[in-house]
Structure formats: structure tokens, C-alpha cells
């Protein structure tokens, strides 16, 4: 059963190049359709500027979409209030140094969603906060500490406890470990894996770290310039990437395999200017499998190529690419 779905979601920003020049549209997210099933972990990956954070902000209700719609189960996002929305979906942000209020104690931070939603009386609230602190592995003696007294890993645990305390359906993690050291990253990833198993949590993981994504996700959506170019189960996307961009992205990941050496770089040219995206397939100027006359003429659609995999590429439309 899908808990969250979005249909042809689009968000356009208008950016100016100068005081008197006309502002130009920038389609940060350009027609994204996704569904998220209960209990699964969907990872959204892509380079900076591909629109993954804008997508996350729209799912969280922090940014209204320009067109398209988001629905929770059978309810459209417009039909529910901000407050109800916040009960269903909660964020964990990248930087635990700036996402916690430095003037509040750990207890106040974690209890705030309970206060806002008028859940629990004071003693129950204390109990609930302590329960979630135990769950995320925070010592209870930190209850009255301030964020400045905590390490990066502890702060991220506070952020996770705050997200979970009102029992949302979905948690959106935007780069949850990229500000942390590797040994702490492993602790936080293990925690998210445990929580997923124990609470049946549905996760949306926004990340540029493909090693982390491969470890965590059931399903992957690869984004490029505001579009989903490949979407499928983790096994399919990682073991058999079809879109040339996915292949390049996976090929660039530096896994700790000393026998491999540096990967060959296949992506030509630089990231295009998102205000003036290339004609045809937006990836074609960098694509090593570019077909002249086809890829620069029209934009391919996101089509199913196999069970559980959708790809936006002319090569896979006309038959499986090698």
C-alpha cells in the first residue's frame, strides 16, 4: 500500500541574472512521479543541483509545488493542514549543528512536537521522550544538556528522536550522515536500520553517497536536472544500471577496493546550466552513448523496461543496451 505518492510534481524558481534583466525560470523539479510503499526505504540520488532537496522539501510540505500533486494514502496534500501533515511526515536534516535550537535542552527539543500537537500531559511527555532517547541510543543523563554539549553523532540521534516522537508514517532524511565521521556514520546507519526493522519505518533517503544508499535502500530514484532518469529496486539499479547517467554515477563511486585503482571518467563536459537546459534529452551533452539526431531532438519518457525498473533513455526504449 502506498503511503505517499507524488504525481508530475514540478517546482519552478525564477532566478535573475541582474537587476534589470528578466528573471528566468529554473525547473528545479520537473515532472517527478513517485510512490512510496509502507515500510520501504526509497533513496533519491543525484549530483548537487539535481533537485533532490527541493523534492524533499515539497514532500515535507515546506515548499508548495508549482504544479502536480502529492497525496498521503487517499488524501491530497492540499486537503490536510500543515499540522496534520507534520504528524505524518518528519524530517532529519543534514547538519545536526544547525538543525537543533542551541538554546533548548535535549528534552525540550525532543518534546516540542508533542507540545505542538498537544499530545500527552507533562509526565507522559517525559516518559515518551525518555523512551525515544533509549530507542535512539541516547543516555538519559543527557536529558537536560544543550546541543553544544553533544557530539555530532549524539546531535543526529537527537534529531532522529525528535522526528520519531510523534510516530510519523514517513521520515525524510536529507543527507543524514554526510556531516559525520565514518565511525559515527556507521552508528547512525545501524540505528536507522534497527528503527526500520523495529518500528516498520518508511524512509525517504536523500543522498549523494551511493555507498550509503546501496547499503540502506530498497528502491532508488536517480535524478538528473530535475527529472527522474532511472527508478527501480536497489538490486536492479545497482547490479544492472541501464541509464548511462546511472552507470557513470555508479562508476565514479570510490569503494574501498584497493585493487581497482581510479575509475575511468566517462562523463564529458560539465554540468549544464539548469536555467538553459539542453534540448532533447537533458543528459545528452555528457552522455557516452549519445545517438545523434535522436537524443538531441526529443526528450525520452520514463518507461518501464523490466519488472520494477523505469528508465528515461532512447537506448533502452529501442532494446536493452549493453
Amino acid at each position: 500500500m502506498s503511503v505517499l505518492s507524488c504525481n508530475k510534481l514540478r517546482r519552478t524558481f525564477y532566478v535573475g541574472k541582474g537587476l534589470l534583466k528578466r528573471k528566468l525560470p529554473l525547473h528545479a523539479v520537473n515532472g517527478v512521479t513517485l510512490t512510496i510503499e509502507r515500510g520501504e526505504t526509497l533513496a533519491v540520488v543525484g549530483e548537487s543541483g539535481c533537485g533532490k532537496t527541493t523534492l524533499a522539501r515539497m514532500l515535507l510540505g515546506m515548499l508548495p509545488p508549482s504544479t502536480g500533486d502529492i497525496s498521503f494514502g487517499s488524501l491530497a496534500i492540499g486537503a490536510i493542514s500543515r499540522r496534520q501533515l507534520a504528524r505524518r511526515i518528519q524530517p532529519v536534516f543534514q547538519d545536526p549543528y544547525s538543525s537543533l535550537n542551541p538554546r533548548k535542552t535535549v528534552f525540550q527539543i525532543i518534546a516540542l512536537p508533542l507540545v505542538v500537537h498537544g499530545e500527552c500531559n507533562a509526565s507522559e511527555r517525559r516518559q515518551r521522550v525518555e523512551m525515544y532517547m533509549d530507542l535512539v541510543g541516547l543516555s538519559r543523563r543527557l536529558l537536560h544538556s544543550y546541543p553544544v554539549q553533544l557530539s555530532g553523532g549524539q546531535r543526529q540521534r537527537v534529531a532522529i528522536a525528535r522526528a520519531l516522537v510523534i510516530r510519523p508514517d514517513i521520515v525524510v532524511c536529507d543527507e543524514p550522515t554526510s556531516a559525520l565521521d565514518v565511525s559515527v556514520q556507521a552508528q547512525i546507519l545501524n540505528l536507522l536500520l534497527d528503527l526500520r526493522r523495529e518500528l516498520g519505518l518508511t524512509l525517504v533517503l536523500i543522498s549523494h553517497d551511493l555507498a550509503v544508499v546501496e547499503h540502506m535502500a530498497n528502491r532508488i530514484a536517480v535524478m538528473y536536472l530535475g527529472r527522474v532518469v532511472e527508478e527501480g529496486t536497489a538490486e536492479q539499479v545497482f547490479d544492472r544500471p541501464r541509464h548511462p547517467y546511472t552507470k557513470a554515477l555508479l562508476g565514479s563511486v570510490l569503494t574501498p577496493e584497493p585493487e581497482l585503482g581510479l575509475p575511468e571518467v566517462v562523463l564529458g563536459a560539465t554540468f549544464p546550466n539548469p536555467v538553459e537546459p539542453p534540448a532533447g534529452c537533458v543528459f545528452h551533452p555528457r552522455c557516452p552513448e549519445f545517438i545523434e539526431g535522436t537524443c538531441d531532438a526529443a526528450e525520452p519518457a520514463l518507461l518501464p523496461v523490466d519488472d520494477n525498473v523505469h528508465v528515461r533513455c532512447f537506448r533502452t526504449e529501442s532494446g536493452p543496451s549493453s
Binding site: 549530483e47 565514518v182 565511525s183 534497527d194 570510490l254 574501498p256 577496493e257 581510479l262 571518467v265 560539465t270
Partner: protein
Amino acid sequence: MSTVLEVSGLSVEIDVPTGVLHAADDVSFSVDRGETLCIVGESGCGKTITALAIMGLLPRSARRVSGRLVLEGANLPDLDNQDLAALRGERMGMIFQDPMTSLNPVFTIGEQLEEVYLRHRKAGRKEARERAVYLLERSGIPAAASRLGQYPHQLSGGLRQRVMIAMTLMCNPTLIIADEPTTALDVTIQAQILHLLADLQREVQMALILVTHDLGIVARIADRVAVMYAGRIVETGTRAEIFSTPVHPYTQGLLRCIPAPGRTRRGSPLGAIGGMVPSPIGPAIGCLFRNRCRYARNACAPNEITLAEISPGRACRCVLDPEESRRNFEAQ
């Protein structure tokens, strides 16, 4: 191969309100011509401070209390500021993490590149300009000549880092220190920049010290590796040795922390290192990793443990017998 830089017994202290912070403690290593040494460790382990100490760019609050830093026969701490400034840019260069802030926003790319050359060489502007264009092209920047008039904000992050690399190469230095050169960049750009560094290094046979927290980078580019923890080097060895037979429990822990295809199963728990890095403030005795180490024993606490050679070119700072350590790692 000739040794370019030899660091021995480097200790750096920083005065903080609550005492003395030991940022680097008895750090020793050397790099040869054409060799890539990766210094790897987590934040606060002293890797950047070590790099800055070599360059003579320590912040005012920090001081080098001991250690020799010998660059091609000259002990850097013996030099006065003027002589050191003459070496910087000429014989050793540094690439910083963030190309957004390490270029001067009010000068053009061309002015910044040429300045290095004009300062150190008795050469004209034309020659400097030619060298700048050559190196920008060599660094993979399209339309290099037209970029000279551009300002840093007109370039993308990847291009800025290429400019930084070109700038450090202007005078053909024998040593380059790159401090997290690709952390601020996307994965596809990261691979390109590392390729560029490796190619250029092979071409001019310079020594490269790459400071990073990313074991993936280390696995792909290092010749030799030095693992740092809490201001000290805990293990050194070749890339193959460090990744296949790590001896120090911290190195072993680090390797188990990262997801690796084939070694870790999707969705299975990663081997996290419990606990936290001890406070670097105040006197530190014994092994600093012992409070997080699963093999800790009585011998770890009271005595200073030295970085002992366990085979040629390979050293470890641990009381455990190396053979026992290897068996521990394989048993897991």
C-alpha cells in the same frame, strides 16, 4: 627514490581556555619523489594541523613544540619567515578543501595564477600567462585562455578546484599537499579531479600528500597510508597492507565501518566503533584508543606506546602482537 619530505617527531599544541590541546603528537613520516602518501583519519585527528605545520601556516594559537620537517635537505623550522615564504609556492604547494573560499574573489583567475610565477621566477608577464594557459589546459579546463579574465564566482566548484591545482603547479613544486581536495565536490567531479592529480603527479614526479577522511579515495590513489587517531599516527603501510591486513584495532574498525560491495551485505549492520574520541586537552598517556578498543588490556593504559616497526616500511602503535591482530581481523 629520493626522499622529498621527512617529518620526524612533530608535535603541535594549541592553547585553549581549559588547558593545552595536543593537536599533533610525535608525528613522523616521509614521502618520496613520485609517491602518494594518504594521511587518513576522522575530524580532529590532527591531519590538517600536520599539513599546516609542514607549510608553516599554523594558526596563531597553535605552536610547534618539537619536530623536524626536512624538505629536500632544509629543515623548515630553521628558516625565517622570508625564506619560508620563498619556498611556499615554489617548492611546495597546498590545495585546500574548499575552492569557493581559497581563491581571492576580487582578482581574476589569470592574475592569481600569474602572481605565483612572477613572485618566484624572474620572468615576464607574457611567460607567466603562457604557463597559466598551459596548466589550465592541462588541468582539463576548456577554453583556457578565455578563462584568465574571469573571476572565481564565474566558475563551477569543479573548475575552481582545477584552477587551484593549476596554481599550485605554476612553479613545478616537488611537494604538493592536498587537504580534502574533493570533499566539496560531486562524485563524478571527484573522480575527475583525483585522476587529474594522479596524472600530473606521474608527469612531474612530485611527492603528493593527500589528507582525507574518505577510505574510498585512499583505496584508489595511495601508494602508502598513514592512519591518524587523536593526534598520533597509529599505523602506516602500503595501500595493499592497510586494506588487506590492517593491524591496529582502529584501522580495522574504520574498515568495518564503511559499506563495501562484496564485503558488507545490503541492510546488514555495519561494524561501528563504539564510544567517542577522548578529549585532546590535557596530558595523554598510554594508548588513546583503549576506551573504544575491543582488545584493550592492562598494558594499554600506563605506558607510552611507540610507533614500532613490524616489517620494513610498516609500523603500528599497539601493544598487541601483530600476528594476533591479523588473526583477530580475519576471525571477524
